[in-house]
Symmetry: C2
DNA sequence: CGCCCTTTTGAAGAAAATCAAGGGCAGTGG
DNA sequence: CCACTGCCCTTGATTTTCTTCAAAAGGGCG
Protein backbone atom coordinates (compact mmCIF):
# COMPACT_ATOMS: atom_id res chain seq x y z
CA UNK A 1 0.00 0.00 0.00
CA UNK A 2 2.29 2.71 -1.21
CA UNK A 3 -0.51 5.00 -2.30
CA UNK A 4 0.05 7.54 0.39
CA UNK A 5 2.92 9.36 -1.32
CA UNK A 6 1.00 9.72 -4.54
CA UNK A 7 -2.13 11.27 -3.26
CA UNK A 8 -1.02 13.16 -0.23
CA UNK A 9 -2.79 16.45 -0.19
CA UNK A 10 0.34 18.30 0.76
CA UNK A 11 1.84 17.94 -2.65
CA UNK A 12 -1.07 19.68 -4.23
CA UNK A 13 -0.54 22.66 -2.02
CA UNK A 14 3.12 23.47 -2.17
CA UNK A 15 5.78 23.95 -4.76
CA UNK A 16 7.53 20.97 -3.33
CA UNK A 17 11.19 20.66 -4.16
CA UNK A 18 12.58 17.18 -4.62
CA UNK A 19 13.85 17.44 -1.09
CA UNK A 20 10.39 18.28 0.24
CA UNK A 21 8.88 15.45 -1.72
CA UNK A 22 11.36 13.06 -0.21
CA UNK A 23 10.54 14.45 3.19
CA UNK A 24 6.86 13.77 2.65
CA UNK A 25 7.43 10.42 1.05
CA UNK A 26 9.48 9.21 3.97
CA UNK A 27 6.95 10.20 6.59
CA UNK A 28 6.01 7.17 8.66
CA UNK A 29 2.37 6.17 8.47
CA UNK A 30 0.02 3.43 9.31
CA UNK A 31 -2.99 2.38 7.29
CA UNK A 32 -6.23 1.91 9.14
CA UNK A 33 -9.85 1.65 8.18
CA UNK A 34 -13.29 2.11 9.57
CA UNK A 35 -16.74 0.89 8.72
CA UNK A 36 -19.63 3.23 7.97
CA UNK A 37 -21.00 5.21 10.92
CA UNK A 38 -18.13 4.34 13.20
CA UNK A 39 -16.42 7.11 15.05
CA UNK A 40 -12.85 7.54 13.89
CA UNK A 41 -11.71 10.24 16.30
CA UNK A 42 -13.88 10.85 19.32
CA UNK A 43 -14.99 14.05 20.97
CA UNK A 44 -12.54 14.92 23.73
CA UNK A 45 -9.80 12.68 22.37
CA UNK A 46 -6.29 14.04 21.99
CA UNK A 47 -5.10 12.34 18.82
CA UNK A 48 -1.37 11.84 18.48
CA UNK A 49 -1.62 11.39 14.74
CA UNK A 50 -2.64 13.40 11.73
CA UNK A 51 -5.34 11.78 9.74
CA UNK A 52 -5.23 11.48 5.96
CA UNK A 53 -8.33 10.11 4.33
CA UNK A 54 -7.55 7.78 1.43
CA UNK A 55 -10.89 6.26 0.49
CA UNK A 56 -14.45 7.00 1.51
CA UNK A 57 -16.08 9.99 3.14
CA UNK A 58 -15.99 11.18 6.74
CA UNK A 59 -17.63 14.06 8.56
CA UNK A 60 -16.89 16.37 11.44
CA UNK A 61 -19.72 15.88 13.77
CA UNK A 62 -21.23 17.42 16.89
CA UNK A 63 -24.31 16.60 18.89
CA UNK A 64 -26.38 19.37 20.42
CA UNK A 65 -27.79 19.12 23.86
CA UNK A 66 -31.26 18.59 22.46
CA UNK A 67 -30.03 15.54 20.59
CA UNK A 68 -29.96 17.05 17.11
CA UNK A 69 -26.75 16.68 15.17
CA UNK A 70 -24.59 19.13 13.32
CA UNK A 71 -22.09 18.21 10.66
CA UNK A 72 -19.50 20.98 10.45
CA UNK A 73 -17.49 19.66 7.56
CA UNK A 74 -16.95 16.78 5.19
CA UNK A 75 -13.63 15.01 4.69
CA UNK A 76 -13.08 13.67 1.20
CA UNK A 77 -10.29 11.39 -0.05
CA UNK A 78 -7.04 13.33 0.07
CA UNK A 79 -8.14 15.55 2.97
CA UNK A 80 -5.90 15.85 5.95
CA UNK A 81 -6.88 16.57 9.55
CA UNK A 82 -3.92 17.55 11.63
CA UNK A 83 -4.32 20.62 13.78
CA UNK A 84 -5.54 18.98 16.94
CA UNK A 85 -2.73 16.47 16.75
CA UNK A 86 -0.01 19.06 16.18
CA UNK A 87 -1.33 21.33 18.89
CA UNK A 88 -1.86 18.38 21.25
CA UNK A 89 -5.38 19.61 21.88
CA UNK A 90 -8.62 17.85 22.73
CA UNK A 91 -11.07 17.40 19.91
CA UNK A 92 -14.03 19.76 20.22
CA UNK A 93 -15.96 17.58 17.80
CA UNK A 94 -15.83 13.99 16.52
CA UNK A 95 -14.82 12.61 13.15
CA UNK A 96 -17.21 9.95 11.94
CA UNK A 97 -17.07 7.65 8.91
CA UNK A 98 -19.89 8.46 6.50
CA UNK A 99 -19.03 5.44 4.37
CA UNK A 100 -16.51 2.69 4.88
CA UNK A 101 -13.16 4.47 4.92
CA UNK A 102 -9.48 3.80 4.50
CA UNK A 103 -7.10 6.29 6.01
CA UNK A 104 -3.49 6.81 6.97
CA UNK A 105 -2.37 7.86 10.42
CA UNK A 106 0.77 9.96 10.39
CA UNK A 107 2.40 10.37 13.83
CA UNK A 108 2.15 13.96 15.02
CA UNK A 109 5.81 14.14 16.01
CA UNK A 110 6.87 13.17 12.50
CA UNK A 111 4.66 15.71 10.78
CA UNK A 112 5.75 18.37 13.25
CA UNK A 113 9.35 17.56 12.49
CA UNK A 114 8.74 17.66 8.74
CA UNK A 115 7.04 21.02 9.09
CA UNK A 116 9.88 22.28 11.24
CA UNK A 117 12.50 21.28 8.73
CA UNK A 118 10.83 22.56 5.58
CA UNK A 119 9.21 25.93 5.11
CA UNK A 120 7.41 24.52 2.09
CA UNK A 121 5.77 21.77 4.11
CA UNK A 122 4.59 24.14 6.82
CA UNK A 123 3.34 26.49 4.15
CA UNK A 124 1.37 23.64 2.63
CA UNK A 125 -0.21 22.85 5.98
CA UNK A 126 -1.02 26.52 6.40
CA UNK A 127 -2.71 26.71 3.03
CA UNK A 128 -4.75 23.62 3.79
CA UNK A 129 -5.86 25.24 7.02
CA UNK A 130 -6.75 28.42 5.18
CA UNK A 131 -9.06 26.44 2.96
CA UNK A 132 -10.66 24.62 5.90
CA UNK A 133 -11.35 27.96 7.49
CA UNK A 134 -12.72 29.47 4.31
CA UNK A 135 -15.10 26.53 3.97
CA UNK A 136 -16.35 27.04 7.51
CA UNK A 137 -16.88 30.75 6.86
CA UNK A 138 -18.72 29.97 3.68
CA UNK A 139 -21.01 27.55 5.49
CA UNK A 140 -21.77 30.33 7.94
CA UNK A 141 -22.43 32.82 5.20
CA UNK A 142 -24.67 30.44 3.33
CA UNK A 143 -27.44 30.34 5.87
CA UNK A 144 -29.36 32.69 3.62
CA UNK A 145 -31.87 30.48 1.95
CA UNK A 146 -32.39 26.72 2.07
CA UNK A 147 -32.45 26.00 -1.67
CA UNK A 148 -29.32 28.03 -2.29
CA UNK A 149 -27.60 26.30 0.62
CA UNK A 150 -28.24 22.89 -0.88
CA UNK A 151 -27.08 24.15 -4.25
CA UNK A 152 -23.94 25.62 -2.74
CA UNK A 153 -23.07 22.40 -0.96
CA UNK A 154 -23.41 20.48 -4.21
CA UNK A 155 -21.12 22.99 -5.90
CA UNK A 156 -18.58 22.74 -3.09
CA UNK A 157 -18.52 18.96 -3.13
CA UNK A 158 -18.29 18.92 -6.89
CA UNK A 159 -15.35 21.31 -6.94
CA UNK A 160 -13.51 19.43 -4.23
CA UNK A 161 -14.13 16.01 -5.74
CA UNK A 162 -13.06 17.26 -9.12
CA UNK A 163 -9.82 18.66 -7.70
CA UNK A 164 -9.18 15.27 -6.16
CA UNK A 165 -9.84 13.57 -9.48
CA UNK A 166 -12.99 11.94 -8.17
CA UNK A 167 -15.66 13.54 -10.33
CA UNK A 168 -16.27 12.71 -13.94
CA UNK A 169 -17.27 15.87 -15.75
CA UNK A 170 -20.31 17.37 -14.09
CA UNK A 171 -21.35 14.18 -12.33
CA UNK A 172 -20.58 13.33 -8.76
CA UNK A 173 -21.25 10.47 -6.39
CA UNK A 174 -22.55 11.80 -3.08
CA UNK A 175 -22.87 9.02 -0.51
CA UNK A 176 -24.88 11.16 1.89
CA UNK A 177 -28.42 10.63 3.02
CA UNK A 178 -30.70 13.63 2.86
CA UNK A 179 -30.70 13.57 6.63
CA UNK A 180 -26.92 14.01 6.65
CA UNK A 181 -27.15 16.83 4.15
CA UNK A 182 -29.72 18.39 6.42
CA UNK A 183 -27.42 17.96 9.42
CA UNK A 184 -24.75 19.83 7.48
CA UNK A 185 -27.06 22.68 6.55
CA UNK A 186 -29.21 22.83 9.67
CA UNK A 187 -32.31 21.69 7.84
CA UNK A 188 -34.63 18.79 8.50
CA UNK A 189 -34.45 15.87 6.14
CA UNK A 190 -37.97 16.65 4.99
CA UNK A 191 -37.08 20.17 4.02
CA UNK A 192 -33.81 19.07 2.44
CA UNK A 193 -35.79 16.69 0.28
CA UNK A 194 -38.05 19.50 -0.89
CA UNK A 195 -35.12 21.78 -1.68
CA UNK A 196 -33.43 19.06 -3.73
CA UNK A 197 -36.67 18.57 -5.61
CA UNK A 198 -36.75 22.29 -6.32
CA UNK A 199 -33.23 22.19 -7.71
CA UNK A 200 -34.40 19.39 -9.99
CA UNK A 201 -37.51 21.28 -10.99
CA UNK A 202 -35.44 24.36 -11.76
CA UNK A 203 -33.40 22.16 -14.08
CA UNK A 204 -30.09 22.61 -12.27
CA UNK A 205 -29.48 18.96 -11.46
CA UNK A 206 -30.66 15.46 -12.19
CA UNK A 207 -30.23 12.56 -9.86
CA UNK A 208 -30.21 8.79 -9.92
CA UNK A 209 -29.65 7.29 -6.51
CA UNK A 210 -26.60 8.93 -5.02
CA UNK A 211 -25.32 9.98 -8.42
CA UNK A 212 -25.90 13.69 -9.02
CA UNK A 213 -25.48 15.24 -12.41
CA UNK A 214 -25.18 19.01 -12.61
CA UNK A 215 -27.00 19.97 -15.78
CA UNK A 216 -25.84 23.56 -16.03
CA UNK A 217 -22.98 24.22 -13.68
CA UNK A 218 -22.69 27.91 -14.42
CA UNK A 219 -26.37 28.41 -13.74
CA UNK A 220 -26.23 26.43 -10.51
CA UNK A 221 -23.16 28.32 -9.35
CA UNK A 222 -24.79 31.63 -10.12
CA UNK A 223 -27.99 30.60 -8.40
CA UNK A 224 -26.12 29.42 -5.30
CA UNK A 225 -23.63 32.31 -5.28
CA UNK A 226 -20.81 29.81 -5.46
CA UNK A 227 -17.40 31.20 -6.28
CA UNK A 228 -14.73 28.50 -6.18
CA UNK A 229 -11.87 30.86 -5.44
CA UNK A 230 -12.14 30.36 -1.68
CA UNK A 231 -11.07 26.76 -2.16
CA UNK A 232 -7.70 27.95 -3.49
CA UNK A 233 -7.54 25.16 -5.99
CA UNK A 234 -4.47 25.36 -8.16
CA UNK A 235 -5.91 23.65 -11.17
CA UNK B 1 3.83 52.96 22.27
CA UNK B 2 5.59 49.89 23.57
CA UNK B 3 2.39 48.11 24.50
CA UNK B 4 2.70 45.47 21.85
CA UNK B 5 5.12 43.26 23.72
CA UNK B 6 2.96 43.21 26.83
CA UNK B 7 -0.29 42.17 25.36
CA UNK B 8 0.67 40.11 22.40
CA UNK B 9 -1.63 37.15 22.22
CA UNK B 10 1.20 34.81 21.46
CA UNK B 11 2.52 34.92 24.96
CA UNK B 12 -0.75 33.73 26.36
CA UNK B 13 -0.58 30.68 24.16
CA UNK B 14 2.87 29.28 24.49
CA UNK B 15 5.27 28.37 27.24
CA UNK B 16 7.57 31.01 25.90
CA UNK B 17 11.18 30.69 26.93
CA UNK B 18 13.12 33.88 27.50
CA UNK B 19 14.52 33.39 24.04
CA UNK B 20 11.04 33.13 22.52
CA UNK B 21 9.93 36.20 24.41
CA UNK B 22 12.84 38.12 23.04
CA UNK B 23 11.98 36.87 19.59
CA UNK B 24 8.45 38.16 19.95
CA UNK B 25 9.49 41.39 21.59
CA UNK B 26 11.86 42.22 18.80
CA UNK B 27 9.35 41.67 16.03
CA UNK B 28 9.02 44.78 13.93
CA UNK B 29 5.61 46.37 13.93
CA UNK B 30 3.80 49.48 12.97
CA UNK B 31 0.91 51.02 14.83
CA UNK B 32 -2.10 52.04 12.82
CA UNK B 33 -5.66 52.92 13.57
CA UNK B 34 -9.05 53.03 11.98
CA UNK B 35 -12.28 54.83 12.66
CA UNK B 36 -15.56 53.02 13.24
CA UNK B 37 -17.08 51.29 10.22
CA UNK B 38 -13.98 51.64 8.10
CA UNK B 39 -12.67 48.60 6.34
CA UNK B 40 -9.28 47.58 7.70
CA UNK B 41 -8.51 44.72 5.34
CA UNK B 42 -10.60 44.46 2.20
CA UNK B 43 -12.13 41.48 0.48
CA UNK B 44 -9.72 40.20 -2.15
CA UNK B 45 -6.72 41.96 -0.64
CA UNK B 46 -3.52 40.03 -0.07
CA UNK B 47 -2.23 41.51 3.16
CA UNK B 48 1.50 41.38 3.71
CA UNK B 49 1.15 41.88 7.43
CA UNK B 50 -0.37 40.07 10.36
CA UNK B 51 -2.84 42.16 12.21
CA UNK B 52 -2.90 42.45 16.01
CA UNK B 53 -5.81 44.33 17.46
CA UNK B 54 -4.80 46.50 20.40
CA UNK B 55 -7.86 48.59 21.16
CA UNK B 56 -11.44 48.45 19.97
CA UNK B 57 -13.47 45.77 18.23
CA UNK B 58 -13.40 44.56 14.65
CA UNK B 59 -15.40 41.98 12.73
CA UNK B 60 -14.89 39.56 9.89
CA UNK B 61 -17.47 40.52 7.40
CA UNK B 62 -19.04 39.21 4.22
CA UNK B 63 -21.84 40.54 2.06
CA UNK B 64 -24.27 38.15 0.44
CA UNK B 65 -25.43 38.63 -3.08
CA UNK B 66 -28.85 39.72 -1.87
CA UNK B 67 -27.21 42.52 0.09
CA UNK B 68 -27.58 41.04 3.55
CA UNK B 69 -24.46 40.88 5.65
CA UNK B 70 -22.84 38.11 7.61
CA UNK B 71 -20.36 38.62 10.39
CA UNK B 72 -18.29 35.46 10.72
CA UNK B 73 -16.24 36.45 13.73
CA UNK B 74 -15.35 39.21 16.13
CA UNK B 75 -11.83 40.39 16.80
CA UNK B 76 -11.24 41.65 20.33
CA UNK B 77 -8.17 43.41 21.72
CA UNK B 78 -5.30 40.94 21.78
CA UNK B 79 -6.60 38.93 18.82
CA UNK B 80 -4.29 38.24 15.95
CA UNK B 81 -5.19 37.67 12.30
CA UNK B 82 -2.32 36.20 10.38
CA UNK B 83 -3.12 33.23 8.21
CA UNK B 84 -3.88 35.06 4.98
CA UNK B 85 -0.69 37.05 5.35
CA UNK B 86 1.52 34.05 6.05
CA UNK B 87 -0.03 32.00 3.25
CA UNK B 88 0.08 34.99 0.88
CA UNK B 89 -3.56 34.38 0.06
CA UNK B 90 -6.40 36.65 -0.94
CA UNK B 91 -8.89 37.54 1.74
CA UNK B 92 -12.17 35.70 1.26
CA UNK B 93 -13.84 38.20 3.60
CA UNK B 94 -13.19 41.71 4.88
CA UNK B 95 -12.13 42.92 8.30
CA UNK B 96 -14.11 45.95 9.40
CA UNK B 97 -13.73 48.21 12.42
CA UNK B 98 -16.77 47.91 14.68
CA UNK B 99 -15.53 50.75 16.87
CA UNK B 100 -12.56 53.05 16.51
CA UNK B 101 -9.57 50.71 16.63
CA UNK B 102 -5.85 50.76 17.26
CA UNK B 103 -3.86 47.88 15.86
CA UNK B 104 -0.34 46.74 15.09
CA UNK B 105 0.76 45.51 11.71
CA UNK B 106 3.51 42.90 11.89
CA UNK B 107 5.20 42.21 8.56
CA UNK B 108 4.43 38.71 7.33
CA UNK B 109 8.06 37.92 6.54
CA UNK B 110 9.09 38.71 10.12
CA UNK B 111 6.39 36.58 11.69
CA UNK B 112 7.15 33.78 9.28
CA UNK B 113 10.78 33.97 10.22
CA UNK B 114 9.98 33.99 13.93
CA UNK B 115 7.74 30.95 13.48
CA UNK B 116 10.45 29.24 11.48
CA UNK B 117 13.06 29.79 14.12
CA UNK B 118 11.03 28.82 17.17
CA UNK B 119 8.84 25.79 17.55
CA UNK B 120 7.14 27.49 20.47
CA UNK B 121 6.11 30.46 18.39
CA UNK B 122 4.71 28.32 15.61
CA UNK B 123 2.92 26.21 18.20
CA UNK B 124 1.39 29.37 19.62
CA UNK B 125 0.13 30.39 16.19
CA UNK B 126 -1.26 26.91 15.70
CA UNK B 127 -3.13 27.01 18.99
CA UNK B 128 -4.57 30.41 18.14
CA UNK B 129 -5.78 28.97 14.84
CA UNK B 130 -7.27 25.99 16.62
CA UNK B 131 -9.33 28.36 18.74
CA UNK B 132 -10.44 30.41 15.71
CA UNK B 133 -11.60 27.24 14.08
CA UNK B 134 -13.37 25.99 17.18
CA UNK B 135 -15.23 29.29 17.41
CA UNK B 136 -16.37 28.96 13.79
CA UNK B 137 -17.53 25.40 14.42
CA UNK B 138 -19.39 26.50 17.49
CA UNK B 139 -21.14 29.26 15.58
CA UNK B 140 -22.24 26.64 13.09
CA UNK B 141 -23.45 24.30 15.77
CA UNK B 142 -25.35 27.03 17.55
CA UNK B 143 -27.93 27.58 14.87
CA UNK B 144 -30.34 25.60 17.00
CA UNK B 145 -32.52 28.22 18.55
CA UNK B 146 -32.37 32.00 18.42
CA UNK B 147 -32.52 32.77 22.14
CA UNK B 148 -29.82 30.24 22.91
CA UNK B 149 -27.66 31.64 20.10
CA UNK B 150 -27.80 35.12 21.56
CA UNK B 151 -27.05 33.70 24.99
CA UNK B 152 -24.13 31.71 23.65
CA UNK B 153 -22.64 34.74 21.93
CA UNK B 154 -22.83 36.72 25.16
CA UNK B 155 -21.09 33.86 26.96
CA UNK B 156 -18.39 33.66 24.30
CA UNK B 157 -17.70 37.38 24.34
CA UNK B 158 -17.67 37.40 28.11
CA UNK B 159 -15.19 34.54 28.32
CA UNK B 160 -12.91 36.07 25.71
CA UNK B 161 -13.04 39.55 27.18
CA UNK B 162 -12.37 38.17 30.63
CA UNK B 163 -9.35 36.23 29.37
CA UNK B 164 -8.07 39.46 27.87
CA UNK B 165 -8.59 41.28 31.15
CA UNK B 166 -11.35 43.40 29.69
CA UNK B 167 -14.36 42.27 31.69
CA UNK B 168 -15.01 43.24 35.26
CA UNK B 169 -16.63 40.29 37.02
CA UNK B 170 -19.78 39.32 35.18
CA UNK B 171 -20.18 42.64 33.39
CA UNK B 172 -19.08 43.34 29.87
CA UNK B 173 -19.14 46.24 27.48
CA UNK B 174 -20.47 45.12 24.10
CA UNK B 175 -20.17 47.90 21.52
CA UNK B 176 -22.37 46.12 19.00
CA UNK B 177 -25.70 47.24 17.65
CA UNK B 178 -28.46 44.68 17.69
CA UNK B 179 -28.24 44.68 13.93
CA UNK B 180 -24.60 43.61 14.14
CA UNK B 181 -25.44 40.89 16.63
CA UNK B 182 -28.11 39.77 14.21
CA UNK B 183 -25.61 39.78 11.35
CA UNK B 184 -23.40 37.49 13.42
CA UNK B 185 -26.22 35.08 14.22
CA UNK B 186 -28.19 35.28 10.98
CA UNK B 187 -31.13 36.95 12.65
CA UNK B 188 -32.88 40.20 11.86
CA UNK B 189 -32.34 43.07 14.25
CA UNK B 190 -36.01 42.89 15.18
CA UNK B 191 -35.77 39.27 16.18
CA UNK B 192 -32.46 39.81 17.95
CA UNK B 193 -34.13 42.49 20.00
CA UNK B 194 -36.88 40.11 21.04
CA UNK B 195 -34.43 37.40 21.99
CA UNK B 196 -32.42 39.80 24.14
CA UNK B 197 -35.62 40.83 25.84
CA UNK B 198 -36.38 37.21 26.55
CA UNK B 199 -32.96 36.71 28.13
CA UNK B 200 -33.75 39.70 30.34
CA UNK B 201 -37.20 38.36 31.18
CA UNK B 202 -35.72 34.98 32.06
CA UNK B 203 -33.46 36.81 34.50
CA UNK B 204 -30.19 35.80 32.85
CA UNK B 205 -28.93 39.28 32.09
CA UNK B 206 -29.53 42.95 32.77
CA UNK B 207 -28.50 45.70 30.44
CA UNK B 208 -27.86 49.44 30.54
CA UNK B 209 -26.88 50.80 27.17
CA UNK B 210 -24.06 48.66 25.84
CA UNK B 211 -23.16 47.43 29.30
CA UNK B 212 -24.38 43.87 29.85
CA UNK B 213 -24.43 42.28 33.27
CA UNK B 214 -24.77 38.52 33.47
CA UNK B 215 -26.89 37.90 36.54
CA UNK B 216 -26.35 34.16 36.84
CA UNK B 217 -23.53 33.02 34.64
CA UNK B 218 -23.90 29.32 35.38
CA UNK B 219 -27.57 29.44 34.51
CA UNK B 220 -26.92 31.35 31.28
CA UNK B 221 -24.16 28.97 30.29
CA UNK B 222 -26.36 25.99 30.97
CA UNK B 223 -29.25 27.53 29.07
CA UNK B 224 -27.05 28.36 26.08
CA UNK B 225 -25.10 25.09 26.20
CA UNK B 226 -21.89 27.08 26.52
CA UNK B 227 -18.83 25.12 27.52
CA UNK B 228 -15.74 27.35 27.57
CA UNK B 229 -13.28 24.53 26.96
CA UNK B 230 -13.27 25.05 23.21
CA UNK B 231 -11.64 28.44 23.74
CA UNK B 232 -8.60 26.68 25.24
CA UNK B 233 -8.10 29.43 27.77
CA UNK B 234 -5.26 28.68 30.08
CA UNK B 235 -6.57 30.66 33.01
C1' DC C 1 -40.38 -12.28 -0.24
C1' DG C 2 -40.08 -9.30 3.57
C1' DC C 3 -37.41 -6.12 6.24
C1' DC C 4 -35.12 -1.86 7.13
C1' DC C 5 -33.60 2.35 5.71
C1' DT C 6 -34.35 6.24 2.92
C1' DT C 7 -37.08 9.11 0.08
C1' DT C 8 -41.25 11.34 -0.89
C1' DT C 9 -45.55 13.71 -0.07
C1' DG C 10 -49.33 15.97 2.83
C1' DA C 11 -51.16 18.90 6.48
C1' DA C 12 -50.70 21.62 10.56
C1' DG C 13 -47.97 24.36 13.57
C1' DA C 14 -43.91 27.05 15.20
C1' DA C 15 -40.13 30.10 14.46
C1' DA C 16 -38.30 33.88 12.32
C1' DA C 17 -38.68 37.45 8.61
C1' DT C 18 -40.91 41.38 6.89
C1' DC C 19 -43.40 45.55 7.04
C1' DA C 20 -44.60 49.48 9.65
C1' DA C 21 -44.58 52.88 13.15
C1' DG C 22 -43.16 55.03 17.50
C1' DG C 23 -39.83 56.34 21.03
C1' DG C 24 -35.32 57.31 23.31
C1' DC C 25 -31.00 59.36 23.30
C1' DA C 26 -26.82 61.71 21.89
C1' DG C 27 -24.90 65.06 19.16
C1' DT C 28 -25.46 69.48 16.42
C1' DG C 29 -26.64 73.88 15.53
C1' DG C 30 -29.46 77.80 15.96
C1' DC D 1 -31.21 76.20 26.22
C1' DC D 2 -34.02 74.02 23.19
C1' DA D 3 -35.28 72.20 18.67
C1' DC D 4 -33.67 69.19 15.24
C1' DT D 5 -31.55 65.14 13.27
C1' DG D 6 -29.89 60.64 12.87
C1' DC D 7 -29.28 56.34 14.73
C1' DC D 8 -30.73 52.72 17.31
C1' DC D 9 -34.05 50.30 20.11
C1' DT D 10 -38.70 48.69 20.84
C1' DT D 11 -43.20 46.95 19.84
C1' DG D 12 -47.22 45.30 16.87
C1' DA D 13 -49.32 42.92 12.92
C1' DT D 14 -48.76 40.00 9.07
C1' DT D 15 -46.40 36.75 5.99
C1' DT D 16 -42.93 33.44 4.81
C1' DT D 17 -40.00 29.77 5.79
C1' DC D 18 -39.07 25.82 7.96
C1' DT D 19 -40.34 22.19 11.33
C1' DT D 20 -43.12 18.68 13.10
C1' DC D 21 -46.05 14.90 12.77
C1' DA D 22 -47.78 11.31 10.00
C1' DA D 23 -47.98 8.03 6.52
C1' DA D 24 -47.01 5.86 2.22
C1' DA D 25 -43.90 4.52 -1.39
C1' DG D 26 -39.34 3.00 -3.31
C1' DG D 27 -35.03 0.16 -3.10
C1' DG D 28 -31.42 -2.70 -1.83
C1' DC D 29 -30.30 -6.92 0.53
C1' DG D 30 -30.67 -10.89 3.58
Amino acid sequence: MSRLPQIIELMRLCDASEQDKTLIRTLPWEIDCSTKHRQIVGLGATPDFAFLLLEGWAARFSVRRNGTRRITGFLLPGDLSWIHALAAAEMDHAIVAVTDCVYAKVPAYALLQAAGSSANVSMALLRAKLVDEAILRTWLRNSEDAERSVGHLICELHARLKAAGLAQGESLQVPLTQEQIGDALSLTSVHTNRMIRKLREYGFITKRGSQIKIVDIDALRRFSAFNPSYLHQTL
